[in-house]
């Protein structure tokens, strides 16, 4: 036992491990808050689709400096990259990827959930198209303009987030903190409206509530959460982080408020447990957290069955 404590205290003396824990818990809390609404509105796959868009955007952000340099080299007669362009490209590669990923994901979220049913391609087809498309383009960009020699390693870490949470800088933590507080504030202030729009859109519209506006708000907040969660679990496991805690809570609890509180608690506990377990067992962070979520889901399923019978 003391061995474990020694190992943990050694790890927590490094700032990047502390950052990882803070960011991990914040992301888990935020993703579980909107998860309930998304699952109930039958938007479970929006999380998956947007995470693929975020993957595409992230690879675009990673290779953009390389592309700019290549194009500049192609245009200039000598084949040399002009000084100004080189400076711009270097500045771009140093900038935080989130500044490129966030706007692109937001745009995709608004496109997918935008009000109005007259779109030619609807619902699940649109989600599937955008998610598969951006996944393909992202992978192609990474292959065509490699930023490092280990392409499959890069792709793997972007998809599964295996190491990225341990490479967070103070800047990332600050951005994460601001976004997480914004998400929580929006959720608390609009809690009643989100409930009404989720439960019955036509009644809300009929009594003069701007349901389309709140749907847009939900889309924007979802995109925020996904960009946040990219750092923790990578784009493939984001859906799990959004869906599992809320589905577990729905097995047992019966009012909207208790479901949301319970899913937030489940999510934070699983994230904390998963991060510590991944340090001790040296497993990938994202998949350890999701495994913890899956175990909790089955436990709650059994509890739900027992309480229903009683």
């Amino acid at each position: 036992m003391s061995e474990i404590i020694d190992k943990l205290s050694l790890y927590f003396s490094y700032p990047f491990v502390r950052y990882a824990l803070i960011v991990g818990l914040l992301i888990a809390l935020c993703s579980s808050l909107l998860g309930v609404t998304l699952v109930l509105k039958r938007f479970s796959f929006i999380g998956d689709g947007l995470s693929h868009v975020a993957f595409g955007a992230m690879s675009l952000a990673a290779v953009l400096p390389v592309i700019i340099k290549e194009i500049a080299a192609g245009i200039s007669a000598s084949g040399e990259v002009p000084e100004g362009v080189r400076g711009f490209a270097d500045a771009l590669s140093k900038a935080n990827n989130n500044y490129i990923v966030l706007p692109i994901t937001l745009l995709a979220a608004i496109l997918l959930l935008r009000p109005g049913k007259n779109a030619k391609i609807k619902g699940d087809a649109a989600v599937a198209m955008i998610s598969v498309g951006s996944l393909a383009i992202g992978y192609m960009l990474m292959n065509r303009f490699p930023t490092s020699s280990n392409i499959s390693g890069d792709v793997c870490s972007t998809l599964f987030g295996s190491t990225s949470i341990l490479t967070l800088k103070e800047d990332d933590v600050r951005l994460c903190l601001i976004l997480a507080i914004a998400v929580m504030l929006i959720f608390i202030l609009f809690y009643n409206k989100i409930f009404a729009v989720t439960f019955d859109e036509s009644f809300s519209k009929a009594t003069g509530i701007k349901a389309d506006g709140y749907n847009l708000l939900i889309a924007v907040v979802t995109a925020l959460i996904i960009v946040l969660a990219m750092n923790l679990v990578g784009s493939l496991l984001i859906s799990a982080l959004i869906i599992f805690p809320s589905l577990s809570a729905m097995r047992v609890f019966k009012s909207f408020r208790s479901v949301i509180i319970c899913s937030a608690v489940i999510s934070v506990i699983c994230a904390g447990f998963g991060i510590i377990a991944s340090i001790l067992l040296s497993t990938p962070v994202g998949s350890t957290i999701v495994t913890a979520d899956i175990i909790v889901f089955f436990i709650f399923c059994i509890i739900g069955k027992i309480t229903k019978r009683a």
Binding site: R42, Y191, N192, F195, D200, S202, F203, A206, K254
Partner: protein
């Protein structure tokens, strides 16, 4: 009587297609209007237009002394609601949302209003229960209580008894009747002609793409369209051919015996069937 909704020569439809035209009716305070019509006749489009969710193509729908937002609306149940984890009090309270305005939380007066409405519909003891575990009739009462939170003047009900068993249907009709007697205007969309003529004060009948009838229930019973519709619903195929040929005034007289004959025939057939079945078993 104060007029509340005046609809003049309204044409309903989507961008280029007309769903129904020549819709012309007036709803006064305290009326019980029943909107009848077949599937696809434009009933749901009419509701959306009355609620102000869609513009009228031509003609006008005018509101006297209230806005479309002051309507209590009971929509048809959606798939999402069937497994929704929410308590009864949360759902009823969500009806007060438009009154809460920009404030993020409900005031204590609105919470009291929600409690009063649950009391009024006899679901106060269910307030902590989960919505998805209630029976169909109880669920409709919850949604009705929510609609009452949004209004105290006009209720618009979209096929409220769909999917309920006969007892629950009757209970709900009686409840709506009581609400109407307490001074709330009721506009109900329905397939159920018998309930319509039993409870409603006015009938609006929409046929294929145009209005067939609007007037009081008494006039509807006398009218040709009302009679043919009622007899098709109640009797068999035999009566359908003969009834419209008769004089309008004695249609009611034919109606009663026709129903009796049909019921008796059905009952005797049933009894013979049971007896035959019993013999076979032996």
């Amino acid at each position: 009587m104060n007029e509340q909704i005046i609809c003049r020569e309204a044409e309903l439809g989507y961008e280029n297609t007309t769903v129904a035209s020549g819709i012309d009716f007036t709803v006064c305070e305290g009326d019980y209007l029943c909107i009848l019509g077949e599937n696809g006749s434009g009933k749901s489009t009419l509701i959306k237009t009355i609620l102000g969710l869609k513009p009228v193509s031509s003609g006008s729908i005018e509101w006297k002394g209230l806005s479309p937002k002051e309507i209590g609306y009971l929509p048809q149940q959606t798939l999402v609601q069937r497994d929704f984890p929410a308590s009864v009090s949360e759902i009823v309270l969500s009806g007060c949302l438009s009154k809460a305005g920009m404030r993020p939380f409900y005031s204590s007066e609105l919470r009291q209003l929600a409690r009063d409405n649950m009391e009024r519909l006899g679901i106060a003891d269910l307030s902590k229960r989960c919505y998805r575990e209630l029976s169909g009739g109880q669920q409709q009462r919850v949604l009705l209580a929510r609609a009452l939170c949004a209004t105290s003047r006009v209720l618009l009900l979209d096929e409220p008894v769909t999917g309920l068993d006969p007892k629950a249907q009757n209970d709900l009709y009686e409840l709506i009747m009581e609400l109407n007697k307490s001074g709330i205007t009721v506009i109900m969309v329905s397939h159920d002609v018998n309930a319509a003529v039993r409870y409603a004060s006015h009938i609006l009948h929409i046929g294929s793409r145009r209005q067939l009838f609007f007037g009081t229930k008494e006039d509807y019973l006398e009218s040709r369209i009302g009679q043919s519709f009622l007899i098709t619903e109640n009797g068999g195929e035999g009566e359908q051919a003969t009834a419209p040929k008769k004089e309008e005034s004695d249609a009611k007289a034919i109606l009663a015996p026709a129903v009796t004959v049909a019921t008796a025939a059905a009952a005797s057939a049933l009894i013979t069937g049971i007896i035959k079945l019993g013999r076979k078993r032996k």
